[in-house]
């Protein structure tokens, strides 16, 4: 047991046989079907899959925005019932920051409304985390004056300053340009080296999954089902050209597209 009451000898997050469904205007869509996985403290756990595999829905389930129709989700042994600040979420969209608050106020806001920190302490922590994501000069700026990458950094600082049990990231870098995305991935890994937080990271990019993740859950689409759980090892951008990286990339790629090749072959012969 460490200071947070988390036991590193036991998984932090247990997702067990979870089926998630949501309604659109015309359909009841089954997003995931009996998905199970366990996230251990300090994992960089990646949910990887093509669009339609329910990875974002799964993350919303863990965040507490959706209840599973089947199966259980437990954080530190307690069932997840509703959204809460012990699972801070970083979204893909830039408008996740509150436009009527400055960068500093945005980072302080969850700390204050959750009642976890007093104002002075919240302010101190906010400044420290804004510094960590290299935005010290922009503490008093309003979000609309920031670039996309800076907004995502603020969102990450805001989530991390809460020191949640688990950080939930829903394709946080997907809307950024390639250069900024790469820089943000490096920064995220650097932050992880510092504090060894636990993160559940959703992406559709195999490359991003290998670089960011320490363990990868590969999901198949329609509905999302677990295809494999792999160790991602310790690859950074420099290792990208290496044979091992390429081998893992190819292996995941085949896993994701095997079905389609199979279908194409049947179609061609049929």
């Amino acid at each position: 047991m460490d200071a947070n009451g988390t036991d590193s000898a036991r998984p932090l997050l247990e997702v067990d046989g979870v089926t998630l469904q949501y309604k659109t205007r015309e359909h009841l869509v089954t997003a995931t079907y009996r998905v199970s996985f366990k996230v251990w403290p300090s994992d960089r756990f990646v949910l990887l899959g093509p669009s339609g595999c329910g990875k974002s829905t799964l993350l919303k389930g863990v965040a507490g925005f959706m209840q599973p129709v089947e199966g259980t989700m437990r954080l530190n042994g307690r069932g997840i019932e509703r959204p809460g600040p012990d699972r801070m979420m970083v979204f893909q969209e830039f408008d996740q920051l509150l436009p009527w608050k400055t960068v500093r106020q945005n980072v302080m806001f969850p700390m204050l409304v959750s009642g976890r920190f007093a104002r002075a302490e919240a302010e101190e922590r906010a400044l420290a985390y804004i510094d960590k994501v290299n935005l010290t000069k922009f503490g008093d700026a309003f979000p609309h004056t920031l670039s996309g990458g800076m907004k995502q950094r603020v969102a990450i600082a805001r989530a991390m300053a809460m020191e949640p049990d688990i950080l939930l990231m829903d394709e946080p870098f997907a809307a950024l340009d390639a250069l900024t995305r790469r820089k943000m991935q490096e920064e995220l890994l650097q932050l992880w080296e510092d504090t060894k937080f636990t993160v559940l990271f959703v992406t559709h990019s195999i490359e991003e999954a290998i670089i960011v993740g320490s363990r990868i859950l590969v999901l198949s689409p329609h509905p999302g089902q677990v295809k494999a759980e792999l160790n991602a090892g310790d690859f950074d951008h420099a290792a990208q050209g290496g044979a091992e990286f390429q081998a893992l990339h190819q292996r995941i790629h085949n896993m994701l597209f095997a079905e389609r090749i199979e279908q194409d072959r049947v179609a061609a012969h049929g």
Binding site: P83, E93, V113, H144
Partner: protein, 295 residues
């Protein structure tokens, strides 16, 4: 096709090169302060005042040309009447009466709109109720309700307040509700993620996020209320012993004091302009513009 393509020459092979960023000093400063004239003409207030001055001059010239002060007094006559009525005459009292009634009605209208919107956002039946009522009553001019108001509340301030509430309520409720509906899913989820629920969620996330729409509703509501009140006073200001601005205009028309009629109308315009360009604009500059939610 293939022949046509092969006829086109391949681009020439050119040597590669790299350049270090050189001196750009010869094109002048990277940023230069604008000249005084450029800065003045960029100021909206200055440009608007200029338009007002031109209009006043045109008015004066036209009035002098037709020489009929009974029908169309000149700008200077009007200004004099305005000054006299403010300093010696009843214009200040009249204006204050009008504004008092207006503020009462406006505040009551906003309060009721808040209740309606709360019901509308919390239940689906409430949403249907609000949209149906708004669709029914929004097109109904408040003045058309005046006879009914007189029947129910008699001559006097309660009737005026009733019609003002009617003109404010639907505009504000509709805009606020539209604003709430338009709050992005991401911001909603972010708010819930922090554990905000119920009234705290509404106060800390929904209202600021919907503020551009709410402010637009308040502005429209204000304009409706102002117009309705002046019109209502014209119709039955006769009754109330201390009449408002509308009554002032009506009274002076009866006495053929046309310059005073113009003075009354100008007061209506000035107050409208002040509220629009001072109060609401200041509110905008310090909220939605500062937050980048509106240009």
């Amino acid at each position: 096709m293939a022949e046509a393509r092969s006829l086109r020459a391949a681009p020439p092979v050119r040597p590669e090169f790299e350049i270090k960023p050189g001196e750009a000093a010869h094109i002048g400063d990277a940023a230069r302060p604008l000249s005084a004239w450029e800065r003045i003409s960029n100021d909206t207030t200055v440009r608007r005042i200029f338009i007002l001055v031109v209009l006043a001059i045109a008015w004066e010239l036209y009035a002098r040309w037709i020489k009929n002060p009974l029908m169309f007094p000149s700008f200077l006559d009007m200004s004099e009447a305005l000054y006299d009525n403010f300093v010696r005459g009843p214009l200040i009292d009249r204006t204050l009466t009008t504004i008092k009634v207006l503020l009462l009605g406006y505040a009551a209208g906003i309060a009721i709109a808040a209740v309606f919107t709360t019901i509308a956002v919390s239940t689906r039946v409430g949403t249907d109720l609000l949209s149906t009522l708004t669709a029914m009553f929004n097109p109904l001019p408040a003045i058309a309700l005046l006879p009914l108001a007189l029947l129910w509340f008699g001559l006097g301030i309660p009737s005026l307040i009733f019609v003002i509430i009617h003109s404010v309520l639907w505009a504000v409720a509709l805009n606020t509700h539209t604003g709430f509906m338009a709050v992005s899913e991401t911001q909603r989820m972010a708010g819930q993620n922090y554990g905000l629920r119920g009234i705290r969620y509404v106060m800390q996330i929904l209202i600021p996020a919907a503020f551009p729409s709410i402010l637009a509703g308040l502005k429209i509501g204000w304009a409706f209320a102002w117009r309705t009140l002046i019109a209502a006073e014209l119709v039955f200001g006769v009754s109330s012993r201390s009449g408002g601005l509308g009554w002032f205009i009506f009274e002076n028309r009866q006495q053929l004091e046309t310059a005073n009629v113009f003075a009354g109308l100008t007061t209506v315009i000035i107050i409208g302009l002040l509220v629009e360009s001072v109060i609401f604009r200041t509110l905008e500059t310090h909220t939605v513009r500062k937050w980048g939610m509106q240009r």
